[in-house]
Symmetry: C2
């Protein structure tokens, strides 16, 4: 079985590549180093340096004997995308440079993933829209033209739903109106340009599924936390990218760094913003179980990929509690909200589908957070306080 | 009052420019000749040649004394868009080259408007997405940054709704679910990449309205027919672009040309596809009434801009009937549907909002169609049979 991972250098992409490789899959990763280049452009450092994608693939091969083929290329270029299917691909690194053939499964992570990034300026908004839409569209047409039975696993976001005043179902909603019924994509309205670009992705994929019987699983994920996965634990150089800045750092990861750096935890406004969260190890389980249980032709299967919900205040308090146990004098500071968002709202999402597939959740509690503190502590000297809060407003 | 018309060279753009100019508005038009260039690229001729946008503005000025300022530029370039607001704009033609100032109203037509165009190939799909999304996003950010009180009148399409099994409301739907209520954008699912790009436009504008209190009227229009507007009737050179090909020709216009050219009317599949239609003169009324009654700050006001509904079979039969009265032996030919669409479906859209604003509809009947036949007849020698059906499939 051949798994193609688009965005294979990212926070989730690289751990996913190792996860499948370890389990005997043939794996190809593609990336254009967007995340790394953006970190450089915006001057927001990572917690520790990481080898290039080619170097990581070589290290993985040396340590495990497994091959992860690497393509460095920009998937907004349709010809690069199509080369992955028509056999003209040029591998940047591989033991065997011969074309691996059409993948059975594609994991699509190749998107600009940050809400604040998308609102730094109109230019960053345009980059987000162009990147995310063109990669998704190029993928859809390549699969239509070369590999209609290929299963696309696309990463969506729970942020597509926003914070509606009714329960959030898994992707779909049956609506009764004036005595007639139909089933629709659950209504979406997002809180950033990034999240809006993911709504648009869904619009596109739903079109492809209806028109050409494509097979798509859309994983609407909440913010992910954590950095150590089993595969990375064999060598520090295999650890995934870890950002703790306002642009690319997700909230739990960032709060832990702030606690260790003696930087008061920044709660935006009232702190009642509630979202669903999951451990990076659960992302891997979810993607793997989706791969093992693919969507059917003509099916857009949607899962809400979260394991539990927290408000920002709850996360701040948990971080403070764990930090204090570990000897840090963690402060919480409520600051004026730089974003336009509901700070108190109804939030009741369903998330049963992936549990039914067999995911065994890792929950966030004091113990698991303490483990994350211990990893971050090793890199304490690397923490740059100036990148934690940049104040991107919208 | 200053009206800025984006896409001012198009089928609707140029008539709209003259309509406002005649009524004493200051008018600026912007276009990059996308439509004309595409007609050349795809070799789908127009029924009659039309002067360039600059020439048309000069003719209009000679005949009426009114000035329509012309900017030839690509609005996917954010700097071109922003120049229209920050005063750095370079007019391609104007009597007075001094900046006209920030417009009170912007009419946004600057989109790739064809469903078949968007599905010629993956490249055309990408052009459609890039053009439509970047122009809309650039507009949204320019208004946010320079002109938050400016009223945006954006052309949407009834095709955003698709053909749901429940009544189509005007843009919004209140949903009750498990005992709780919320109001959402009416669920959308479109039948082409073009129509999907318009859903995405709506996603974007709804974001801008919620975040920055923008004022937006979204006119979800059905296919438009007709070519003669009052302002154009003073000189043939002022007539709007008239396409009759499969790519850019809307159905009523195309059927009339086919009838005159002795080309059987091409009905796709069963012909039960039902849509809402309107006369080009009603588009002008709708845009003008929307301008006179603007949306409020923080309001996305949505109107379904159609005056009546017809099935494809009904349009074919009406064209056949009128054609026969005028001496043409009009045949109807059912062909295999090149599109993936419902050929029989429920369709019950509401369209009351614009009537309430005061639109006086022109309905399509044998008399009004006969007038169109008479105009097209004058250009009978120009009709190219080879462009009528190209068979773009999806």
């Amino acid at each position: 079985m051949h798994v193609l991972i688009l965005g294979g250098d990212g926070y989730l992409g690289w751990p996913t590549a190792m996860y499948f490789s370890k389990r005997g899959y043939e794996v190809t990763v593609v990336d254009n180093y967007f995340r790394r280049n953006s970190c450089t452009e915006l001057d927001v450092g990572m917690l520790y340096p990481i080898p290039s994608l080619v170097e990581r693939a070589k290290i993985w091969h040396e340590l495990t004997g497994q091959e992860i083929k690497v393509v460095i290329g920009d998937l907004t270029d349709a010809e690069v995308m199509r080369s992955l299917f028509d056999g003209t691909v040029e591998y940047s690194w591989a033991i065997h440079k011969k074309f691996s053939g059409i993948p059975e499964t594609i994991v699509h992570y190749a998107e600009q993933p940050s809400a604040p990034y998308s609102l730094i300026s109109y230019k960053h908004a345009n980059i987000t829209i162009t990147n995310n839409l063109l990669v998704t569209n190029n993928l859809m047409f390549a699969v239509r033209d070369f590999a209609r039975d290929c299963h696309i696993i696309k990463l969506g976001t729970m942020g597509e739903y926003g914070t509606p005043n009714i329960d959030i179902e898994e992707g779909w909603l049956e609506i009764e109106h004036k005595g007639r019924k139909d089933t629709f994509l659950y209504p979406r309205q997002a809180g950033s340009i990034y999240h809006t670009s993911k709504i648009m992705d869904t619009d596109l994929m739903w079109f492809g599924v209806r028109m050409w019987d494509l097979r798509v699983t859309d994983l609407l994920q909440g913010p992910v936390y954590g950095m150590v996965t089993e595969e990375a634990s064999i060598d520090d150089r295999l650890k995934t990218i870890f950002n703790y800045d306002e642009i690319f750092g997700t909230i739990v990861n960032r709060f832990i760094v702030q606690a260790i750096a003696d930087y008061p935890l920044t709660v935006y406004g009232k702190g009642g913003q509630t979202r669903g969260y999951l451990n990076i190890n659960d992302t891997l389980q979810c993607v793997h179980l989706s791969e093992k249980n693919p969507a059917k032709n003509g099916e857009l299967r949607i899962y809400n990929q979260i394991m539990e919900t927290f408000s920002v205040n709850e996360l701040a308090e948990m971080t403070q509690c764990v930090g204090r146990e570990m000897g840090y004098d963690v402060q919480i500071k409520k600051i004026e909200n730089p974003r336009n968002e509901a700070e108190e709202h109804y939030y009741n999402p369903t998330y049963q589908g992936l549990l039914d597939l067999g995911v065994k959740p890792h929950y966030l509690d004091n113990d698991s957070m303490k483990k994350m503190f211990k990893v971050v502590e090793q890199y304490k000297q690397n923490i740059r306080r100036d990148v934690i809060f940049k104040g991107v407003k919208w």
